[in-house]
Amino acid sequence: MEKWENNRAWFLVLPVFVVVAFSAIIPLMTVVNYSVQDIFGPGQRVFVGAEWFKEVLADYRLHDALWRQFLFSGLVLLIEIPLGILIALAMPKRGWGVSASLVTLALPLLIPWNVIGTIWIVFTRPDIGLFGAVVNGLGIAFDHTARPLDAWVTLMLMEVWHWTPLVALLAYAGLRAIPEAYYQAAKIDGASAWATFRYIQLPKMRGVLTIAILLRFMDSFLIYAEPFVLTGGGPGNSTTFLSIYLVKVAVGQFDLGPAAAFSLIYFLIILLFSWLFYQALQNVGTGEKR
């Protein structure tokens, strides 16, 4: 079905453009401006060209943070997307269970991000936290403030606990949008549960899964408040993700130039990967249709 061609539709988009541009364009230009200057103080600045970009790209701590970030986001997607789909498949389809499940699922999503970190600090403390006490009670020495692996395990648990419900909610929405007739047809053909999932449910969930994957990728790649509160980037630098390192450079050392160059590179990486995911998911869909 062709859309109507009408350039006056721009008037309908204009309010959105104005509201978003107010907060987006001027700050972005300011950041670009910082990234090519050396700023000593008010009114004292020197144009340095691509110097900061070169410096940032050669920074080995940034490389480490970048790999850590890719590992983190990769694990997040690998765990949360399948788990979210499984939960959505297991959820009740009618009755009081639907409302109860939806409300329960949404609870972790509604907690401010630094409070999430606080909850998990409390929960994993060996002296006053349930998780910490139980794990230590089982004879496993667990301390996320001292051992990098424990810190990672705690962060992943927190992340999966926090965000899998979003994937489940979206996947559930996709499943509910499938007409009953599809399932009846599958039943008549004697399709197995796996075949029903693979050839009916999964393709029909493509749209919502695109949103889920993109949102989870972007937000996990930008994660800041939760690890900052829980581990502060430590022990050592083992959980210093990109945005934590960025804040260290921007606020801790007050190096505006390199920090601005850094955030532009950061932005471009996210942009590139989001675009790749978006294209890949679109193509998967058209392949199925043929």
Binding site: A9, V13, V16, W113, F123, Y172, L246, F267, L271, W275
Partner: protein
Amino acid sequence: MTIQKRTIGLAIYFALLLLPIYWMLNMSLRTNADILGSFALYPHDPTLTNYIKIFTDESWYSGYINSIIYVTINTVISLFTALPAAYAFSRYRFIGDKHMFFWLLTNRMAPAAVFLLPFFQLYSTFGLIDTHIAVALAHCLFNVPLAVWILEGFMSGVPREIDETAYLDGYSFPRFFITVFLPLIRAGVGVTAFFCFMFSWVELLFARTLTVTNAKPIAATMTRTVSATGLDWGLLAAAGILTIVPGALVIWFVRNHLAKGFALGRV
């Protein structure tokens, strides 16, 4: 048999999901000395001291009021600007439409950390620092694109014949949109409002940077519980539990929309 296994699995998942929240609730009902003194699976001697302190101390409860004010303003602005735009994207082809759509999405991808300083400067220039509207506008950066995205999905689920018939019947665009189209996508509006509320409520960096005292959000107030004697865990837990309440109320009101609304739209 398989259905039972599924239900058991789901029940276990929900139990694990609620466990950290339960632990917080448990601690919020105990005094700090009690928490540090003994380990208990449930409060043996429940007390509301922590909650009473929050509700009687203005520097505490004003945080909740501030957060609710700017989140509400943000949700209203996001919905009112996103509705016409989503209609345009779902119905019309126009110059630069695809670029515009992707540009909107890119605003969710900017690392907030370094945009804080330019944001502060921009809002200072307009004299908006420490106002609710400043935080509401800043949150539009990531909420408006999401609102457009979700609403566009719901609107595309409505057949275009409805628009055509209405225009043939002599409806003007605003009258058609308000009296015919909006009721059709009511559920979608509910779901969108829920997502805007949620993302604005949980955001901390912008909210903290753009406010000093008059519009300070509760999440920032919570960093105050560190005193000379160390952290007051009980007070912190009570404040944390209270941050869940407004959101839980919102879900309660849109729960039927969440179930039905998601089913109608292709999201």
